[in-house]
C-alpha cells in the first residue's frame, strides 16, 4: 500500500516537474486557517485560476496550534510552500529576519493598504513590508435584540448608558447582563481591555506614544480601562471566575445573556447558533459626541517564501490578494473577517456590515500590546491577560496593575526606562 502510494507520488512528480519549466506553475499556500479550507477551494482559488490561466494553487492548511512549529520546520528543511500565511507581528518578523520571507515593499498593490493595516507585517522602522494584509477583526459588543426590546433598553452609546443598560438587565433578572468569564483569561484582555481601551488612550495616538516611551502604563489613559473593567464583575453570571470561553459563547447563543463582549470573528459562528436577532454596538465613549476609537486588529496576512521557485507566479497571486476583487469574495465568504484594503467592499451579512460600518465613523487602531511591546520577558500580552482578570475580579486596584505592568515592561524595553 505504502509502496504503491510512493510510486504514485514519484510518478506525479515526474509528470509535474517538466511542466514547472513551462509557463505553468503550481503554488502551494501554507496556512493555519483549516476552518477556511472549503472557502479557498470552492471560491477563492477558482476565481484566481479563472483570471490567471497557467497558475494552479493548492491550499494546504495545518492545525492552528501547530502552525508556527510546522511552518518553521518546513522552512528549515526547504519544503515549505511558495506562499505563507502570516501571523501578525513578531512571529512573521522573525521569519523575515531569518531570511524566509521576501520583502514585498515594491509590490504596486501595497498602495491599496493603510499604514495601520501594514504595521503588522513591517520591520520596526517601517522600511520593509513582507506580507500582504489580508484580514482584520473588529472588536465591539454583540447584543440580543429581543432581550433589549423585552426589557426596554436602548442600545448604549456612552459609558453611562452602557452601565444603565446593564443595571436594567440585572434588575429585570431574566437575562444575565453580560456573558464573559475569566477562566481562560484572554477574553478579559482581548474582549475587555483592548475592546474598550482605545477610547481611553485615543487609539493610535496612545499606542504609538507607548511604543516611543512618551506615555507609560501607569498613566490615567492606560489604567482607567481597568477601573471600568472592575465594574464589569458585578454584571457577569454567577461563578464567572470558572466560566470558559465556550461557556460564554453558549450562554449568549442560547439566549440567556443580553450582551456579549465580542470580536467580529464570532459573527459566522453566532449566525449559525443563535435563533434570535443580534445586533452590535461599538465600545461606548465617555461622553456623547466624543471621537470613537475601535480596535480593528490586523490578524491575517500572506507573504512569499524567499526560497520559492515560482516567484513570478507567487507575486501575481499576491497582487491579486491585494485587489478589491479578492476583498469582495473574502469578506462575504467569511463574514466577520474584514479585508484591509482601502477600497470599499459590500458586505451582505447584516451583523458583519454593522461592525465594518464603524470604520467610517471611528478611528481604527490595533491591540496595544501586539507590536514590539510583547517581545521581551515578562511578556506584556500575557501579563495584560492576568491584569484584566485581576481588575474584573477586583483583586488588585487599577493603579497597582498599571504599576506592575509598567515595571515589567521597563525591565527590558529601553524607551520605557
Amino acid at each position: 500500500m505504502t509502496r504503491k502510494a510512493f510510486t504514485l507520488a514519484m510518478m506525479t512528480t515526474a509528470f509535474v516537474a517538466p511542466s514547472a519549466f513551462a509557463q505553468d506553475a503550481t503554488l502551494t499556500i501554507e496556512s493555519w486557517r483549516n476552518d477556511d479550507l472549503t472557502l479557498w477551494q470552492d471560491q477563492i482559488i477558482p476565481a484566481f485560476e479563472a483570471a490567471n490561466p497557467g497558475i494552479k494553487v493548492n491550499f494546504t492548511p495545518s492545525a492552528p496550534a501547530e502552525y508556527n512549529a510546522v511552518l518553521n520546520s518546513k522552512l528549515g528543511a526547504g519544503s515549505a510552500g511558495d506562499l505563507i500565511t502570516c501571523r501578525p507581528f513578531d512571529a512573521s518578523l522573525a521569519l523575515y529576519e531569518a531570511g524566509h520571507l521576501t520583502d514585498l515593499s515594491d509590490l504596486d498593490a501595497m498602495s491599496n493598504f493603510s499604514n495601520v493595516a501594514k504595521s503588522a507585517w513591517q520591520t520596526d522602522d517601517g522600511s520593509a513590508t513582507f506580507c500582504v494584509p489580508m484580514a482584520s477583526v473588529i472588536h465591539g459588543f454583540i447584543y440580543n435584540k429581543e432581550a433589549f426590546e423585552e426589557v426596554g433598553v436602548e442600545v448604549p452609546t456612552t459609558e453611562a448608558e452602557f452601565f444603565a443598560a446593564l443595571d436594567a438587565f440585572k434588575e429585570d433578572g431574566s437575562y444575565i447582563p453580560m456573558a464573559m468569564g475569566t477562566n481562560d483569561q484572554w477574553e478579559a484582555a482581548t474582549m475587555g481591555y483592548n475592546n474598550i481601551g482605545p477610547n481611553y488612550w485615543k487609539g493610535e495616538e496612545g499606542r504609538l506614544a507607548l511604543i516611543s516611551g512618551e506615555q507609560k502604563l501607569t498613566d490615567e489613559a492606560w489604567t482607567a480601562p481597568y477601573a471600568t473593567l472592575a465594574r464589569w464583575g458585578a454584571y457577569l453570571g454567577d461563578g464567572y471566575e470558572a466560566q470558559t470561553y465556550p461557556d460564554s459563547q453558549n450562554i449568549f447563543t442560547l439566549g440567556r445573556a443580553a450582551i456579549y463582549p465580542a470580536g467580529s470573528w464570532e459573527v459566522s459562528g453566532f449566525n449559525n447558533l443563535a435563533d434570535f436577532e443580534m445586533g452590535a454596538f461599538k465600545p461606548p465613549v465617555q461622553a456623547a459626541g466624543d471621537t470613537c476609537y475601535i480596535s480593528d486588529h490586523t490578524d491575517i496576512g500572506i507573504g512569499m517564501n524567499a526560497a520559492s521557485e515560482n516567484a513570478e507566479a507567487a507575486k501575481t497571486f499576491l497582487a491579486w490578494v491585494a485587489s478589491p476583487e479578492f476583498a469582495e469574495i473574502f469578506a462575504n465568504a467569511l463574514p466577520g473577517f474584514f479585508p484591509l484594503s482601502s477600497a470599499p467592499v459590500d458586505i451582505t451579512d447584516p451583523l458583519a456590515a454593522e461592525f465594518v460600518s464603524w470604520r467610517d465613523e471611528c478611528e481604527s487602531t490595533i491591540r496595544s500590546t501586539y507590536q514590539i511591546l510583547s517581545r521581551g520577558t515578562p511578556n506584556l500580552e500575557n501579563d495584560t491577560w492576568g491584569a484584566s482578570v485581576a481588575a474584573i475580579k477586583g483583586t488588585s486596584s487599577p493603579e497597582e496593575l498599571g504599576e506592575e505592568l509598567q515595571t515589567g515592561l521597563a525591565s527590558w524595553y529601553a524607551p520605557q526606562q
Partner: protein
C-alpha cells in the same frame, strides 16, 4: 590453560535495550542539559555557561515565577501524600478484608480512572465543577448545601487544591493496588500467631500489617514524588498553558512548557526552557537520593 572466551552473547542481548534506551532517553536528557548552557543572540547560538540558571534563580522576574511554580508543586505533592496515599492504604486494607463482598467490583471501579487520559479527566471535571452546566452545584442544591459551592477552578485560593484532588481521584488506584498486593503476601500464620497473643482487628493492622507494608509505602511515596514533579498534563488540560487564575496553578511542568514552546505572543525560548527542565531534573534527583540513601537503607525489613 585456556583464556576464558569473551562472552559475545551478553553484548548481543544487551544491545537492543541499551541502544533504544540511549537513543530515546539518555541522549535527549543530556542534550537538554547541554542546551541549557547556550543562548540565542542575534540568530546565533552562543555558549553562555550557567548564565541561564543565574537568570532563572536570581533575576527577580524569572525567580518569582520559578519559586511560585516550585511552591505550587510542593503543595500539589503534599496533597497527594496527605490524601491520596492514606486513602489508598485504607482502601487496600478494606479490600483485603476476607469477608468483603463485591471486592473485585470495587477494585476495578476505583482503578478505572487511572487508565483514563488526562484530557478526559481534566475536561470531565471541568464540566462537573462548572458553575453553569455542572452537576456539582445541582447536587449540592439537592442536599441544601448550594451555599457551599464556589467556582473552585476559577479562584486563586482553591484552584490548585481542587486540581490536586482531581489528580488524587484519578490516581488513588495505584497506591491501592500496590498496597493490596503487599497485604496479600502477608502469611496467614503471622496473623493467626498474633491472634493467639490477643492482637486482633484494628491493632492487627497497626501492629502487624502496617510494619510489613512499609517498604511498599516508601516506593509509593517516591513514585508520587516523581510523578508530581513531572506533572503537566492535568493542569494544561484544565487551565491552559498560563495555569490561571493568576498563575495560582502554575507548576514546574507548565512553566517549562510555556517557556520552551512559547505561548500566544511569547516566542519560545528553548534555552531557558531547558534550564527549567534541568532544574526539574535536579530537584527530582535530589529528592530520590534523599529517599534512597536517607530512608530506604534504614528501613527495617522483615523476612516473611
Amino acid at each position: 590453560m585456556n583464556k576464558p572466551r569473551f562472552r559475545w552473547h551478553i553484548l548481543v542481548f544487551l544491545a537492543p535495550a541499551v541502544i533504544v534506551y540511549t537513543a530515546v532517553m539518555i541522549f535527549p536528557l543530556f542534550n537538554t542539559l547541554r542546551l541549557a548552557l547556550y543562548s540565542r543572540i542575534d540568530q546565533e547560538r552562543v555558549f553562555v555557561g550557567l548564565e541561564n540558571f543565574r537568570t532563572l534563580f536570581f533575576d527577580p522576574i524569572w525567580a518569582e515565577q520559578f519559586w511560585n511554580a516550585l511552591g505550587n508543586n510542593f503543595w500539589f505533592f503534599v496533597i497527594h501524600m496527605l490524601v491520596q496515599n492514606p486513602i489508598g492504604i485504607a482502601l487496600a486494607a478494606l479490600l483485603s478484608h476476607p469477608r468483603l463482598r463485591f471486592a473485585a467490583l470495587y477494585r476495578s471501579a476505583i482503578f478505572i480512572p487511572t487508565i483514563l487520559s488526562f484530557v478526559i479527566v481534566g475536561f470531565a471535571w471541568k464540566l462537573i465543577l462548572s458553575p453553569i452546566w455542572g452537576i456539582a452545584p445541582t447536587m449540592l442544591d439537592w442536599v441544601g448545601l448550594k451555599s457551599l459551592f464556589a467556582p473552585w477552578l476559577g479562584k486563586e485560593e482553591y484552584a490548585l487544591t481542587t486540581l490536586a484532588l482531581v489528580s488524587v481521584w484519578q490516581f488513588v488506584g495505584i497506591p491501592m493496588m500496590l498496597i493490596y498486593a503487599a497485604l496479600l503476601t502477608i502469611p496467614e500464620e503471622i496473623l493467626e500467631a498474633g491472634e493467639v497473643d490477643g492482637i486482633t482487628g484494628m491493632s492487627a493492622f497497626w501492629k502487624i500489617k502496617l510494619p510489613l507494608i512499609l517498604p511498599s509505602i516508601g516506593i509509593i511515596s517516591i513514585l508520587t514524588f516523581v510523578g508530581n514533579f513531572n506533572a503537566f498534563d492535568l493542569i494544561y488540560a484544565a487551565q491552559g498553558a498560563l495555569a490561571g487564575p493568576d498563575f495560582s496553578t502554575d507548576i514546574l511542568g507548565t512553566f517549562m512548557y510555556r517557556t520552551f514552546f512559547g505561548f500566544q505572543l511569547q516566542l519560545g525560548d528553548p534555552h531557558m526552557g531547558s534550564a527549567i527542565a534541568g532544574a526539574m531534573f535536579a530537584i527530582i534527583l535530589i529528592g530520590v537520593c534523599i529517599y534512597l540513601f536517607g530512608i530506604q537503607t534504614r528501613m527495617r525489613r522483615y523476612q516473611l
